[in-house]
């Protein structure tokens, strides 16, 4: 019997933060009706909780390397193997919590001004983060399902959080319907896998599935398809990408950032965990499917992004395209070369920085322009040169050009595709980067070279979003200039696979 609550410490701290923040809604309430101070205090408490969680996660990593017995290969499982804390899950948890911290930073002022129940907003954000953390260390179907549902249900509420806004409610409803449909598919697939093997634990499942070789049992094929469909909605891969543009556009902008970054990272964590269970024979069949889906996802994302006029919608398609690039990393995983998963981890790290910078700028500019249409951003570079510069740097990085981290990440992904014998995939990926350059550069052009018609007055940015912008700019530069320690960390994280 193994009930080690120690491995839950980060989750428990975050859960406590969520509880404190909800009650803080009343505790910090001021009598004179001015809620600015209350909202700020609640935001600080959330940041504090998230930072403590991050510190504990990092200390797990440090401690595991300090002990000679672990030899850098930590694998602690608890509750009868349903929850596993290994190097991969710690890496994923660190980037999930880090991205949540950045999301809180960029949403500080937006939340203060536009959201009524600030405590509940932050509490739901913390709970969604816990869901993502559970997904990254789930080693068993029930935990996996609970993690996905925890992040999904809280995201539905977050999307519909602007209660009086029609678009926000609509995005909540759409996300809810698509999310429930996908979780039904996922569960049906899980039930069939359970029926085939009688196992719920992924490790036992992998052992039991060893004997299924081609030609495959029809039930097994249906089970694989349904489960993959259920998970790929979370990363917004084609053909389960339809919800993304509408949901991203309608949701409050900080929530859009959360969905584009944290939720996607959690989806990839779950995907990697799930792909481990197949034997090599089945994997070789899955590779073809994944390669085709990857190409279709990145192409649809990039081509449809060209015609968008709304920035949040454009970023939805951009995030779909990035899911396509990242899916290239699954191919070496399915070939059994687990070390190459580090390309996904590295790219996700770069992905956080470039998206946070972009969303920080979108939130800052749209506060004064009053809309997220691309044309409303015309000429903002003259008024706010720093944020325009950060936004441009992040866009160039998203397109995959040097000297930014996006280039390094894409380079490693494509190299791993070539090494796995899928040169055409790397070629299509590079071609797609060129297409994406078109619509990313168009935003830069609007910001720098178009005159704004009315007299647009931009106020000073607040400290929190300025910090986030600086961190993201420094982050993408560091990931380009000195990538090796980060790649080393990512490779070490894959040793436990």
């Amino acid at each position: 019997m193994n009930l080690n609550f120690g491995v839950f410490t980060p989750e428990i701290i975050l859960l406590l933060t969520a509880c404190i923040v909800v009650f803080g809604e009343w505790a910090f309430k001021s009598v004179d009706g001015n809620n600015n101070k209350k909202n700020r205090n609640i935001g600080f408490v959330t940041l504090l909780g998230l930072t403590i969680t991050l510190a504990i996660l990092i200390s797990f990593k440090v401690v595991s390397y300090g002990l000679p017995t672990y030899l850098g290969n930590l694998k602690e499982s608890t509750f009868w193997g349903s929850f596993v804390l290994d190097d991969l899950s710690i890496y994923f948890k660190i980037i999930i919590v880090f991205s949540a911290i950045m999301t809180v930073l960029i949403s500080f002022r937006y939340v203060n001004e536009k959201i009524i129940h600030v405590g509940e907003f932050y509490a739901l954000l913390c709970l969604a983060t816990i869901g993502g953390m559970f997904m990254s260390s789930a080693a068993e179907m029930i935990t996996f399902y609970l993690g996905i549902e925890l992040i999904s249900i809280t995201s539905y509420v977050l999307c519909a959080f602007n209660k009086d806004n029609q678009k926000s409610s609509e995005s909540g409803l759409k996300y809810l319907v698509v999310g429930s449909l996908s979780s039904a598919l996922l569960l049906y697939g899980f039930s069939l896998l359970f029926g085939l093997t009688g196992k719920l634990n992924f490790e036992d499942l992998a052992l039991a599935l060893e004997k299924f070789t081609t030609p495959l049992n029809t039930i097994y094929v249906i089970a694989i398809m349904m489960t993959l469909a259920g998970i790929s909605y979370k990363i917004a891969a084609v053909p389960f990408h339809m919800w993304a543009p509408d949901v991203y556009e309608g949701a409050p902008t900080p929530v859009t950032a959360f969905l584009a970054i944290t939720s996607k990272i959690a989806g990839f964590a779950a995907f990697i965990r799930f792909l481990e269970i197949f034997n090599l024979d089945v994997s070789s069949k899955l590779i073809i499917l994944i390669a085709i889906l990857s190409v279709v996802t990145m192409t649809i994302g990039n081509v449809l992004a060209i015609v968008q006029t709304n920035l949040k919608r454009l970023f939805a398609y951009s995030s779909i395209a990035h899911a396509g690039y990242l899916m290239i990393g699954f191919i070496p995983l399915l070939q059994g070369k687990v070390q190459e998963v580090s390309t996904i981890l590295f790219y996700l790290t770069a992905y956080i920085f470039m998206n946070i910078g972009a969303f920080a700028s979108i939130i800052y500019f749209s506060k004064y322009t009053g809309s997220t249409d691309i044309d409303s951003f015309s000429g903002v570079a003259k008024k706010a040169p720093f944020f325009a510069f950060v936004f441009s740097a992040c866009l160039v990085s998203l397109a995959g050009l040097p000297p930014f981290g996006g280039f390094t990440g894409k380079f490693y992904l494509f190299v791993s595709a070539v090494n796995s014998g899928y040169t055409w995939l790397a070629f299509v990926g590079a071609l797609n980067s060129v297409i994406s350059l078109y619509f990313y550069v168009r935003i830069i052009k609007v910001m720098y070279f178009k005159d704004n018609k009315e007299d647009l007055v931009l106020g000073l940015p607040n400290a929190a979003s300025l910090t986030a912008a600086i961190i993201s700019l420094v982050g993408i530069l560091i990931l380009f200039l000195v990538p090796s320690p980060f790649i080393q960390m990512a490779i070490e994280a894959t040793t436990s696979l």
């Binding site: 179907m141 029930i142 399902y145 609970l146 549902e149 249900i153 539905y156 509420v157 519909a160 209660k163 009086d164 806004n165 029609q166 678009k167 409610s169 609509e170 995005s171 909540g172 409803l173 809810l176 319907v177 429930s180 449909l181 039904a184 598919l185 569960l187 049906y188 899980f190 039930s191 069939l192 359970f194 029926g195 009688g198 719920l200 543009p245 509408d246 556009e249 309608g250 919608r313």
Partner: protein, 103 residues
């Protein structure tokens, strides 16, 4: 005629398909919600039947079903709140009329 595993599986598959069909075609938001619940019921029957016939003696499938019931209750709560909010904003719950963002 005795009831075998296959009878349960066919019942579950039919329920699941009715649920998916309902989610995809219903116009009324509450009907979508009911269809989701039907699909989950199909999955639950599947799990309990498998647990009973494939791994008799353990309760893994039944436990999973309990979790599914709990989570889908939470989901239904959230869904009803969102639908209520939709009705307040749009004065309708017709799925086809709630598409401000189509282009």
């Amino acid at each position: 005629m005795s009831i075998t595993l296959y009878h349960y599986l066919i019942l579950a598959a039919i329920l699941f398909c009715i649920g998916i069909y309902g989610i995809l075609t219903s116009k009324h938001a509450v009907r979508v919600l009911m269809s989701i619940e039907i699909a989950f019921a199909g999955v639950s029957i599947n799990l309990v039947a498998f647990s009973n016939y494939i791994t008799p003696g353990t309760l893994a499938g039944q436990i999973f079903t309990l979790f599914i019931m709990t989570v889908s209750a939470a989901e239904a709560g959230v869904a009803l709140a969102i639908i209520f909010n939709i009705y307040k904003n749009f004065r309708t719950v017709d799925i086809d009329k709630i598409d401000l963002m189509k282009r």
